[in-house]
Amino acid sequence: MDTEVDRISSLPGNVLDQILSDLPIRDAVRTSSLSRNWRYKWSHIPHLVFDTQCVSIPSEDQTVGKNKLVSIIDHVLLLHNGPIYKFKLSHRDLLGVSDIDRWILHLSRGSTKEFVLEIWKGQRYKLPSCLFSFENLIHLELLNCLLKPPSAFKGFRSLKSLHLQSVTLAQEVFENLISRCALLERLTLMNFDGFTHLKINAPNLQFFDVGGVFDDVSFENTLLLTQVTIALYEKVKNDQNMSRRSSCKLLSFFVNLPRIRRLKIHNYFLKNLALSKIPSTLPKSWVDLNYISIHINFNDFEENAVAFCLLKSCPNLQEIEMLGRPEEKAVVGPLTGLWGDDNWKSLFGQLRQVKIAGISGTRSELDCIKFLLSNSPVLEQMTVRPAPNEGGLEMVKELLRFRRASTRAEVIYMEP
């Protein structure tokens, strides 16, 4: 006969913390009304998450909704008892700036390790200076914020992961922030303003992802960086004089990324790299690079040259993705023979997968495909997807003719 025994209340504290942390904050706090034993169990949970899912306020009125949210957060913080390791605030109704200041002040007295703040609406929220005194911060995520640390700010000494989206920072602030967070391993930047030169000085950085508008990216002391994604959302001004004089941008970009494994050059960044002297070969190869994804304008001479040079310097590529940016129809510079000089040299001994998309069957595109097919002896699959309203039988005929170094290679033509 199964007696009605309460087995859950006697579970060890850390297990209960884990169970309660896994509940939306509302359900967790409600357990305080279960029984005498449970009155304070919730107050030790180390994670507090206030987002639209966990705290649903069914109210039409914006102000009422906001006030309720503020009241709830104030209550929970006041009744909470114990360290708060993770704090996340990401609510649709969140507006009141002074309230957030107050909560950050409260957290700054503890040992918060993870802090996520997402302001969905309104202008950039200026973070209070007490945020910069979070000594134990390991992960910081901000959306729609303005950072202006006090001059005495020496960086977050434990910070490993930084994710900034829609933020405003001064150039100097950005550089100092990155260089002073010595343990930084992951950095993500999406849509930012206030700084245009991305100087990345981070000895422990392993993952870097940036998408926005900037002038330049330069790496310094980034020997551990293995994954890089760079997307430049706006076209760079084409200064002809500058491009002839300046040293090879491609080289200076890559020289500090010796161990790079995965690289994505998206939107207009390849154009940025192309605005300099482009050698036919680079003095060094990047032997660890096994995945590359490039957005390229096949009608631009310089971009083709840069891509060609780059690919030749990466002998151990396993997967290549090339996406055409077909917005510029006008042909810039001679486009023949760019890809055709180095065939049948088994340049890509490990290449197994190739994806080409957004093309329209121009000479340079087809030359590129021919180049890849003839230099990849172990190729297994190449998929070719034309741009919308392009492609057709002509392209298929050409593709069919190309000789392939790999007997196992499949060339798959996909509908646009």
Partner: protein, 360 residues
């Protein structure tokens, strides 16, 4: 024939076993790679050399019953095989935790004592999914929890394990509430109020938890409490000033009173608009509150100053917000009575440090 026999026997002999003793005293052999998946068994075997023979079997903790141990072994047996894909593992896990809550709790406890973190994570998540979205009554029923919170208990102050002045403040407020309750009980002719107080205190704690389920009654009672707070703090103003001069340790409550007390205009305008007329309010002597304050506080001067500064910071920040906030707070009590924030109130406020609002 004998060679064939040997071929059959040999692989068996190659496998090594660990001797384990379960909580019921029974001793069994378990394949080494399976048992070693549990950190606790691993530790016993490697660091203490246990489990090599029947005599020194690894003895499992009390919380691991034989039935639970066999379940855990199933889990370990599946997961210790290196070749499985993530999908396979996930699918196994999902099926594995489908059991009644009683066994799930036992399994969590057993896994925790064997330090098998992946299984603890899995079972904890499963328990969380069971609790999520259910009402307290439903949860009590599932886990057989006693419904033993009395009305009084819901007013009990939070255990003061930290020196956090904010917790102390809350305790003071709760203590005040308790005293009110006692006062009420003495006065026979305010039985109606008594019920009201009880409702208010329970609702007060749970109203924010229940979020959007506020009924009109709860809302108004919440506001009533808010207005009452303000009025009480105003009340302590006169006696407060006298005590202030005696170099009393200032704390958040008294500094609030101080600010409010200085502003006579505010008091009168609020007094007009907050039409709470509980008889018991008048009876409640301000000095009683200060007794609490005296007893509770052993804040050292440095902390006291910090608190002062903090309150003033808040006061300054909220200074500009104050008129709007008052409007908002008062408008929440719209269903009871229409209120207006007098122009005088606004003007008078700007002159002095405003009272930080209690979000209650």
């Amino acid at each position: 024939m004998s060679e064939v026999d040997m071929a059959v026997i040999k692989p068996e002999m190659m496998k090594s076993y660990i001797w384990i003793q379960t909580s019921d005293g029974a001793i069994q052999q378990v394949e080494q790679e399976v048992a070693m998946f549990c950190p606790m068994i691993c530790q016993e075997a490697i660091h203490k050399g246990m489990g090599s023979s029947k005599n020194c079997a690894v003895s499992l903790p009390q919380r691991v019953s034989p039935a639970m141990f066999s379940l855990i072994l199933d889990y370990c047996r599946f997961h210790q095989v290196p070749g499985r894909s993530n999908k396979e593992r996930k699918s196994f896990d999902e099926k594995f935790v489908r059991m009644d809550t009683k066994r799930l709790c036992e399994l969590t406890s057993a896994a925790d004592s064997l330090q098998l973190k992946p299984l603890v994570d899995l079972t904890s998540r499963a328990l969380a999914r069971i609790i999520e979205g259910k009402t307290p009554e439903e949860i009590r029923e599932i886990f057989h929890l006693p419904d033993d919170l009395t009305e009084e208990e819901k007013l009990e102050p939070l255990k003061n394990t930290t020196d956090d002045p904010r917790i102390r403040l809350l305790n003071r407020l709760y203590a005040k509430k308790r005293k009110e309750l006692k006062e009420r009980e003495k006065l026979k002719d305010v039985e109606a109020e008594e019920d009201h107080v009880d409702d208010r205190s329970v609702d007060d704690l749970l109203s924010f938890i229940n979020g959007g389920e506020d009924s009109k009654g709860i809302k108004t009672s919440k506001n009533k409490k808010k207005h009452r707070k303000r009025k009480d703090l105003q009340k302590c103003a006169p006696s407060n000033e006298a005590i202030e001069t005696h170099k009393k340790e200032s704390n958040t409550v008294s500094s609030l009173c101080h600010n409010v007390g200085v502003d006579q205009k505010l008091k009168s305008s609020l007094g007009e608009t907050l039409k709470l007329q509980d008889a018991a309010d008048e009876v409640f002597a301000p000095t009683v509150e200060f007794d609490d304050v005296d007893n509770d506080d052993e804040i050292d001067p440095a902390l006291k100053e910090e608190i002062d500064r903090e309150v003033e910071d808040f006061a300054r920040i909220l200074n500009s917000d104050w008129p709007e906030r008052m409007q908002e707070l008062l408008s929440l009590g719209q269903e009871r009575r229409p209120t207006h924030l007098s122009v005088n109130g606004n003007g008078a406020l700007k002159g002095h440090g405003s009272m930080p609002s209690f979000p209650l």
